[in-house]
Each structure stands twice: as structure tokens, then as C-alpha cells.
């Protein structure tokens, strides 16, 4: 199993984290904190000596600024495939080169455990037909499964038709949904584990909060 980097989430997922050789999709609206889960996932990998790859449509400087903003040290950084600030560039208009570069980076590190975090799923879904993206991701995920790799992908809620996300969710071993809820006068951020291969179904929702010392997840209930 691979630690999520968030102890309370590891506990929810059976004290171990994400399953080995799995792919996890986190769906939520922009700004809610999906990226933070990805940062902690990568940070945990760097501490444990895993090979970590971050594929993003954003500049590296933006990611580093965000990581610092949520209290994550940037002394150790992953390898980047990004729109700027990295040796390997992420060109959203060339999905083939992105998958080639990702596979190449992973193959070069086949003797280590690999963690991949990415936020390119939503832009690629917007720029390409669903059918082609379905086979694109299906192939990419099965390729990573040949090795000791865990892929963590983010998808933006509110940017795609619901059937698009539902279709993509089928490809992933785990799906986590994050959303804001109007609770009387207050607003409460909740998440739920829609599915996670290897663990019994988790019913119910969890509250989460992000502080400068980490992320806290607790069961939601009244």
C-alpha cells in the first residue's frame, strides 16, 4: 500500500493508504483542495524515497508557491513535466508526447516504486473527444500498472458534462469526490470515497480541513 501523505486519510482507507499499482481519481470544483491531496501524496513519496513525477498544465513556480502556501516543504521536489519551468514540457495540444514522456520517465525508474500526480485529465478531456481520451487513459493506466506505480489524477467538477466524468471514473481503481455543502448558514467541505479497489465500500461523508501543518479528515455526522 502507498501512503496518501495524510495520516487521517490513510486511517480511513484501512491504515495503509492507496492500494499498490492503482490509479486514483479525485473529482472536485476548482479551489477546493484537490491539489493539496496530490501535494501530500508526492511529498510522502519523496520522503520514502519513491520516484515522484508531477505532470501539470501549470508552471512549476505556481505549484511550488501553492505547496509553500499549505505548509509543504519544497526542499525535495518531484520530477516535473509542466507548461514551464521544467526540462520536459507539457504541451496540452500534444497528448501523445505527454503520454510518451510520462511513460519514458516511469520506465527509466522501473526499479523503484513510482508515484505520479497529474492535473492534465480535465484539460485533455476538454480539448479532445471523450472516446479518444477513454482509450488514451485506459492505455496509460494499464501501462503504469505493469510497474510498481500509483497514479493520482485530478478532475475538475463543473467543467465537463456529468457523463464524461462518470465514464472516466470507470477507468480508475479509486474515486474520491470533494464538494462544498450549504449547511444552514455555514459552508462545509466534505468528501467521500466513491470507490477504492481492495477495501470494503466506505459509506458516508468526511469533513476535511487544510491547515499549515497538514490536512485533517474526520467522519461527518450529527
Amino acid at each position: 500500500m502507498v501512503s496518501t501523505g495524510v495520516p487521517s486519510l490513510d486511517h480511513i482507507l484501512g491504515d495503509d493508504g492507496y492500494p499498490d499499482r492503482s490509479s486514483v481519481l479525485v473529482v472536485g470544483p476548482p479551489g477546493i483542495g484537490k491539489e493539496v491531496l496530490g501535494y501530500w501524496f508526492v511529498r510522502s513519496g519523496l520522503i520514502q524515497g519513491d520516484y515522484c513525477l508531477f505532470t501539470t498544465h501549470r508552471p512549476v513556480s505556481d505549484i511550488l508557491r501553492d505547496m509553500k502556501g499549505v505548509g509543504i516543504s519544497t526542499e525535495r521536489v518531484p520530477e516535473w513535466i509542466s507548461s514551464s519551468g521544467s526540462t520536459v514540457r507539457c504541451d496540452l495540444k500534444d497528448a501523445t508526447s505527454i503520454s510518451f514522456n510520462m511513460k519514458e520517465a516511469v520506465h527509466k525508474n522501473r526499479d523503484r516504486r513510482v508515484r505520479i500526480a497529474t492535473d492534465i485529465l480535465s484539460p485533455l478531456l476538454v480539448l479532445n473527444p471523450l472516446e479518444s481520451m477513454y482509450s488514451y487513459w485506459s492505455q496509460l493506466l494499464s501501462d503504469f500498472k505493469q510497474q510498481d506505480a500509483v497514479l493520482f489524477a485530478l478532475a475538475e467538477d463543473g467543467m465537463h458534462p456529468q457523463n464524461t466524468l462518470t465514464t472516466m471514473e470507470q477507468l480508475f481503481d479509486g474515486v474520491i469526490e470533494m464538494k462544498l455543502y450549504e449547511d444552514g448558514l455555514a459552508i462545509t467541505p466534505l468528501f467521500r470515497v466513491k470507490k477504492m479497489v481492495g477495501i470494503p465500500p466506505l459509506h458516508g461523508y468526511f469533513r476535511f480541513s487544510v491547515t499549515s501543518t497538514g490536512m485533517e479528515v474526520v467522519p461527518h455526522g450529527r
Binding site: I32, D66, G69, G184, H203
Partner: protein, 261 residues
């Protein structure tokens, strides 16, 4: 004692608009509290500050806030909105740029916004100095030429920045796939229309029925406040907790009944 229905109507409209704005402010603060990404958090916070400026504008345009000086254009609401508007627009454009997968700079706002802010602050300072030096500029009777020229500066800067910001925001929103951002900008457009009505509708009506236009124009502010509330509620998609709990309960019931059979 005769009741002045027009005054009563005006007061009621101010009260309704004020309450909507106060609630919107609370919601914006709540969004700022729960959103995690810095850009989105700061956008919610600047929205809250903009709403405070809107409340001041509402109150002092109805003579309910002490003037910074004895003149209309130097009052608190006008100064606050002149400074808060570009900052509010900037925070939204930063968010739209982040939501755009290609991170495009709409109409060079990013490159020009510091210069824009300097122009805004200078215009407020020039207007303030002009009015303080020669208060007669408002009546158009000042003999000091530079004070006459300086007084309307911030008013024109506000109009230009509003148009530039509004167009940039529209362009940025059209580029992003984020539906809530598009809705947010649409709601801001309606709020702007409400403010436009607030500032203009009294002119033709008062010509025919003195006093009536003034009262009716308050409805423009109520409209602006309502759409600002809708804009705030579009900062991020929101689910309803009651619906969620109902569905969770139903789900549990279904599981229990399934188990019992």
C-alpha cells in the same frame, strides 16, 4: 400625521438591499474560509471587501455615512469603491487565468494591472487634493484651474477601469471551461445593470414626477444587491446538506432493508 410613502418605500428598499449585501458578505467570508487554493481564497476575500464598499456606497449615497469632506464625490463609498473595484476585478482575473488551461492574460490585464492601480490611487489623491484645496470646484465656481481639472479625474478613471475590467473579465470567463466562473461574471453583469439603473433611472422620472424617480431608483440597488448575492453563490458549486443527509439516510435505510430481506 401624514405618512410619506415615498420615504417609507426608499427606506424599505435600502434596508432590503443592505440586508442582502450583508448576507452576501457573510457568504463570501465563508467561501474564503473553506476554499483552499490561494487564488480562490483571495478571490472570495476580495469579493467580501468589494461588498463592504457596495454597502458604504448604498448608505452614503442616501446620506447615512459621514462624508470625508463636505462634498458628494469625496464621500466614503465612492473612495472605497474606486479602490476596491480594480482589486476585486484583479482577483477574479487571476482566478480566471488559473482556471484557463492555457493561462492566457485577458487583454494584457496582468501586465497592466499594477499601472492601473497606480493610476487609480493617483486619481483619488488628485481629486482629494483638488476638493480640499478648493471646495468650490463642485459648484463649478472655483477660479483655480488645476482644481477644476483634478476633481473629475477619479470619476473618469473609475469608469475607464470598470469598462476595461468588465471586458477583460468577460473575455477571461469565455475562455475558461469553468461554468461557475461564467455564471459569476453573468451575475456581475446583471448587478452592474442594476447599479446603472440606480444611478440613471431617477433622472427622467423625476422630471415628470419629482421624488418618485429617486424612490424607484432604489429598486436598481436592490436588483444589484440580489445579483451580487447570486454572484457570491457562484464562487464555487454548492450542494445542499439537507438533500445530502436525506439521500444518505435513504441509502442507509435501503441497505438495512436489503439486509433484513
Amino acid at each position: 400625521m401624514a405618512v410619506d410613502y415615498l420615504d417609507l418605500f426608499t427606506l424599505l428598499a435600502i434596508l432590503v438591499a443592505g440586508l442582502i449585501l450583508a448576507f452576501s458578505f457573510y457568504r463570501a467570508i465563508e467561501f474564503g474560509r473553506v476554499l483552499v487554493a490561494g487564488t480562490y481564497k483571495s478571490r472570495a476575500e476580495w469579493t467580501a471587501i468589494f461588498l463592504v464598499a457596495a454597502v458604504f456606497l448604498l448608505l452614503d449615497s442616501n446620506g447615512l455615512v459621514p462624508y470625508l469632506s463636505s462634498v458628494d464625490y469625496a464621500n466614503t463609498g465612492f473612495v472605497l469603491i474606486t479602490v476596491a473595484l480594480p482589486l476585486f476585478v484583479n482577483s477574479n482575473l487571476r482566478t480566471a487565468r488559473e482556471a484557463d488551461f492555457f493561462h492566457r492574460d485577458a487583454l494584457h490585464w496582468r501586465s497592466l494591472w499594477r499601472a492601473t492601480m497606480i493610476v487609480v490611487l493617483c486619481s483619488v489623491a488628485i481629486s482629494g487634493v483638488s476638493i480640499a484645496y478648493s471646495p468650490e470646484v463642485l459648484a463649478g465656481t472655483s477660479s483655480v484651474w488645476w482644481a477644476n481639472a483634478g476633481y473629475p479625474v477619479s470619476f473618469f478613471v473609475l469608469i475607464i477601469v470598470s469598462i476595461y475590467g468588465g471586458v477583460s473579465l468577460t473575455v477571461a470567463a469565455r475562455r475558461t471551461q469553468d461554468q461557475t466562473m461564467r455564471k459569476f461574471v453573468r451575475m456581475l453583469g446583471f448587478a452592474l445593470l442594476g447599479l446603472f439603473l440606480y444611478f440613471t433611472v431617477w433622472i427622467p422620472i423625476d422630471y415628470f414626477a419629482p421624488g418618485v424617480g429617486d424612490a424607484l431608483s432604489e429598486l436598481g440597488f436592490v436588483m444589484a444587491a440580489y445579483y451580487l448575492y447570486r454572484a457570491v453563490m457562484s464562487l464555487s458549486p454548492l450542494g445542499k446538506m439537507e438533500k445530502l443527509e436525506k439521500s444518505t439516510t435513504l441509502g442507509s435505510t435501503a441497505i438495512v432493508s436489503e439486509a433484513s430481506t
